[in-house]
Amino acid sequence: MTASPRVRARRRLAAFRITVFVVLGAFFVVPLLSMASFSVRVPARGRTLDYWKQLGENPELRSAIVTSLELAALTVALMLVLLVPTMVWVRLRVPGLSRIVEFLCLLPLTIPAIVLVVGLEGVYAWVTYFFGDSSLTLTFAYTVLVLPYAYRSIDAGLASIDVVTLSEAARSLGASWFTVIVRIIVPNIGSALLSAAFISVALVLGEFTIASLLNYENLQVVINLLGKSDAQTAVAASLASLLFAFVLLVLLSFVGRRSSRRVTATVAPAPATSTTTPREA
């Protein structure tokens, strides 16, 4: 007897869910499909892959792709070198400073990049003086940009292992602090470091604001310029960079899920059990 309003409510909920998924799904999928269609289309002649071939052939685009990939690698390296020892050190020796470090790491989230760039102009006059006028000097600014995201995933990684016990055990066996960090801690937070690296790469490859306003050329700056003369190649390049970021971030969601499962399974895993250590650290 009470079943009939229940059934009606359930039917209404199902209708609501289907409507939401279909309408919003279309909103998200249509621009992506349009990009794909736009990038292979020739007026009155059908389809072509010429614009996609341009990605490898256009010299400016090619050097911009290389620059952006180099920037991504350098940013990941600087981020890891700066963040991992500091965060381990804070947990072990100066826990009183952890709030300050957290605050500083999350600060870039509240400062818009367009604001940061105004203040960075003066700093970059000095950077150019010391390091030359290469686009790769953007590494410094990008490391600041990726800091909040990298901090969060590394912090989650460190929280999931018993840093203090592991390092005390290693220290009592005569390991130096360097050995503790590189051979004990890093292998145990491998997936956290990997996800920090992925999100950093995705952010660097998509960055436009700072590069364009400091007059450096990276991938997005060149795509934007190209858009004025050759819209279809620019759309093909956009779609390619987007797909690359998609793949990275989908991989990231798998890494994240696996690590969260491991946390519940092991309290303090021995270093020898971690067979999935990323080697790039």
Partner: protein, 280 residues
């Protein structure tokens, strides 16, 4: 001295942040009060100029409308996700897609919409050839209306990400308790779920507002004429040396943006603190 020694391990990290985060921020704040190497309030006064005030208002309207649209649609999507199976494929793929799409901004997003609704965009041409409708109009995509639509594209997924945990925090017992006392669905939402979720909803909306307010790249790639919003006005002041007769106007405009973001984020933190009392 011995007690201070461990803190020295932080020197590289703090030194780096001092140079590349704190110095630029302080430079913005100080620079706003300097003109022609002299302490001056003229840049701050220029902020109250008609052009700047109108631009700030445009930015607030754009951020506000895209935040509200994004928050409502995102909350609906989040609710549609939550009512499914918690470990189902649908939920996992929607959250993964939202994680990707919330990061999707900048030049790429602008081109996606130019390819869709631009002058020779795919949907524009379908509308023109098949239905005889002119979707392009007079180029609305490249103005504030277009920006609102385009920003919604990354606001909805962001809303799903930040609002989903609050919906997850709702307990089935609340609904059962309300139903056993004879409440209708409407009464349950009006008197129980609504008030509980409202702080989280408003907090998420503020986060979306700050997100849109700070966005630059999409607008830079999309807007063809003038500087209708604050980030573009900052660009204008940075690249063309003198706007409104002020050399240091970029610093004052940047300070203006910091003030808005700090106000919004403070409200956000207060609301989140209130939410966390109920929903964990």
């Amino acid at each position: 001295m011995r007690r201070l020694a461990p803190a020295l391990g932080l020197v590289p990290f703090l030194g780096f942040l001092a140079i590349f985060l704190l110095v630029p921020t302080i430079a913005v704040v100080v620079g706003a009060f300097v003109e022609e190497d002299q302490p001056s309030l003229s840049n701050i006064q220029a902020l109250f100029d008609d052009v700047v005030m109108r631009t700030l208002w445009n930015s607030v309207v754009l951020s506000g409308s895209s935040a509200i649209i994004g928050a409502v649609l995102g909350a609906l999507l989040a609710y549609a996700v939550v009512t499914g199976r918690p470990d189902g494929l649908l939920r996992r793929s929607v959250t993964a897609a939202c994680g990707v799409l919330a990061q999707f901004g900048g030049v790429t997003l602008a081109f996606a919409f130019i390819a869709t609704l631009g002058f020779s965009g795919v949907i524009t041409e379908i509308g023109r050839d098949t239905f005889g409708i002119d979707l392009f109009g007079s180029g609305w995509l490249f103005g504030l209306k277009g920006l609102t639509l385009v920003y919604t594209y990354f606001q909805i997924p962001l809303m799903v990400i930040v609002f989903l945990p609050s919906l997850d925090g709702m307990r089935a017992q609340w609904r059962e308790a309300a139903e056993s006392l004879g409440a209708s669905t409407w009464q349950f939402w009006r008197h129980v779920a609504g008030p509980l979720l409202l702080p989280a909803f408003l907090g998420s909306t503020l986060l979306l507002f700050a997100n849109a307010f700070a966005a630059y790249a999409t607008a830079a790639a999309l807007v063809s004429q003038g500087s209708p919003i604050m980030p573009l006005l900052v660009r204008n002041a940075l690249t063309s040396e003198i706007v409104l007769g002020q050399q240091h106007l970029a610093f004052a405009l940047a300070l203006d943006m910091i003030v808005v973001v700090v106000i919004v984020m403070t409200l956000y933190v207060l609301l989140v603190r209130r939410t966390s009392r109920w929903l964990r």
